[in-house]
């Protein structure tokens, strides 16, 4: 039975699955990355993604328009992280507890809103939306293997993967990127230079949350077409894990994301082929892998030094 998993066609569809599954985690991880670079540890990304997933679904259901749904999800992610940055930067509340509170809020609010908006929904009859169409890139999608894996995907997937080099360029080759990295390392130096720290933190954290909301929307309007409570299923946490495992470096974060997505694609494929193995253990695989990864990735050389530390002007 296991040989079936290693046939070429299966491997190709597994790899294509990996790229698709990587999309929401990668988007959120890039959001986590810039948030951390601004010196703020936002543990609310699970809630931000869940909110984006629901709001995106709801907007798509109301308007039948994918662009509007994406816009709504981005706004919801921005609003959630506005709460985060207000608490962390203005009120200087403990960031860990604030992040947890955001997750609890999103979990309750999405569930409540879903129940109010879709009173007739049951486990058998669930409201659904038309999902995004895949876009085959001309010529490139004709390349054997690579074409199926990388160039017959959703627009959001292309966007997510293109964001990785863009983020690298922004952080390491622009003035704003330098300021941002400096903010996470030594906020006092940035303050002395006369740069408005509060403003920079607000902009960055909100932009990060927007990426998280966008990642969440992918789950409902590109993958599932339906909303179920807790649909984010830990992906916001995985986004934080890949940032740590990727040592806060854009390309390493991409690698870590692909490792997780491959595990997930593998278990999905194994399940659909009916491999004789308890599927619950396969489902637990990414979470066990996350614990292992967080244990082995102890070289935090690139971690922003002022991460999670509120800045007070003397």
């Amino acid at each position: 039975m296991l040989e079936a998993l290693f046939q070429p066609t299966i491997i190709i569809s597994m790899l294509a699955g990996m790229v698709r599954i990587a999309t929401p985690i990668l988007l959120a991880a890039l959001g986590v990355l810039i948030t951390n670079r601004a010196g703020i540890m936002n543990l609310g990304f699970e809630g931000i993604m869940l909110m984006g997933a629901y709001v995106g679904f709801w907007a798509a259901h109301q308007t039948q328009s994918i662009p509007l749904a994406i816009l709504a999800a981005i706004v919801s992610g921005g609003l959630m992280s506005l709460i985060m940055v207000f608490m962390a930067s203005t009120l200087k509340v403990d960031q860990t507890v604030t992040g947890i509170a955001l997750n609890i809020l999103a979990s309750g609010l999405t569930f409540y809103w879903y129940r109010v908006a879709y009173k007739a929904a049951t486990a058998q009859v669930m409201p659904s939306v038309e999902i995004m169409q895949r876009v085959e890139i001309p010529i490139l999608s004709q390349i054997p293997v690579l074409g199926r894996v990388f160039f017959s995907q959703y627009l959001l997937t292309y966007f997510a993967f293109l964001m990785v080099p863009c983020m690298w360029f922004f952080l390491y080759k622009t003035k704003y990127g330098l300021e941002l990295r400096c903010l996470g390392e030594n906020p006092r130096a940035i303050d002395m230079k006369g740069i408005n720290i509060t403003r920079l933190q607000y902009i960055t954290v909100i932009a990060g949350g927007m990426l998280g909301g966008l990642g969440g929307a992918f789950l409902t309007i590109a993958s599932a077409g339906i909303f179920v409570p807790e649909i984010s299923a830990g992906r916001g946490w995985l986004a934080i894990v890949v940032v740590i495992a990727g040592n806060w470096l854009p390309f390493r974060i991409l690698m870590a994301t692909l490792i997780f997505s491959f595990l997930d694609a593998f278990q999905l494929q194994a399940q659909s082929l009916g491999v004789q193995f308890p599927y619950q253990i396969l489902l637990a695989l990414p979470y066990v892998a996350a614990i292992v990864l967080i244990i082995v990735s102890r070289a935090r050389s690139e971690a922003p030094s002022a991460l999670g530390v509120p800045y007070f002007r003397e």
């Binding site: 509340v93 609890i104 809020l105 509060t198 253990i281």
Partner: protein
Amino acid sequence: MTVLGLRFERREKVSRRWQFVTLALAFLASALVSSLLIIFARASVGEAFAALFAGAFGSWKAFLETLVKATPLILTGLSVTVAFRAKIWSIGAEGQLLTGAMAGYWVGANLTSLPPVLLFLAILAAAFAGGAVCGWIPGYLKAKLRVDEVIVTVMLNYVVIFLLSYLLANPWREPAQYYHMTPSVPEVAHFPVLFARSRLHIGFVVALVSSVLVFWLLHKTCLGYEIRGIGLNPTAVKFKGVNVARVTILTMVISGGLAGLAGAGEVMGLHHRLKADISTGIGFTGIIIAMLAGLNPLGVIPAAILFGGLVNGSNRMQILTGVPTAMVYTIQGVVLLLFLSARAMAMYRVRRVRNA
């Protein structure tokens, strides 16, 4: 810093009165948000609140059921209190509750030849141990390998849910049932009920006793002093010769064990079998309860009764006014955020400035 012409200045000392005022404002704001949520569901605010209150505290019977709901919340609230006191941000109470429930169930289903009192104690011990193991893992990783406890506890919650789902689908499954669940445990293992015609079981007493014990542990013992110490100033405690790694691990073991006890109560006192849905976020609600109680083990009791009342009353509210019970979970997030802001605001003085 200046926002919209308002300047926030840090206060030197926080007055009690100002603390009280900000807290009262937080509760008022929570009530306001609740009202908005009810209006959003197109129900009458007055009717919904009346139903919520009547369902929670309106009669002796309703009150007893509120205490039923508060029982596991007290224990998970204590679990979070112990960990947070040491500034260990454990979010693992949900998973620890489930491993406790599994261990308690196994003893209750298999050691039925024991005398009832011994069996009861064995179930409690097993549940405590089951939760403690699940708390030990992040504790050990944090103490010895400096692994972040937040992520490990969150990930363990997911792993435990899949473990439970595996056990219920395969080795422990009652074959005749359509839904995945274990057979009912023998009656001798059931937790006795405290009042006739109610569901309030001895687990409530266990929870109350635990509160007192945790208070005693934190405030009257050497270990408790060290737990609070690593929360307040880990460097100072280290220089005093305290083994921080050992205290960290012990804190997580105790925290996990307390959550495990909650699992035993739910299985042996209420459902009398193990099911996938024995906990609907009881572990996460524990975080809010602990924070509202100001991380005071005795304060956890009224906070848990308040939230137990909300959970209980929301059923009546849903039946009478159609407002979904999920409102309670939304309110939990709102209350926690407002409570945190209120505490922070109490430390600031707001001044209007002309030139920002």
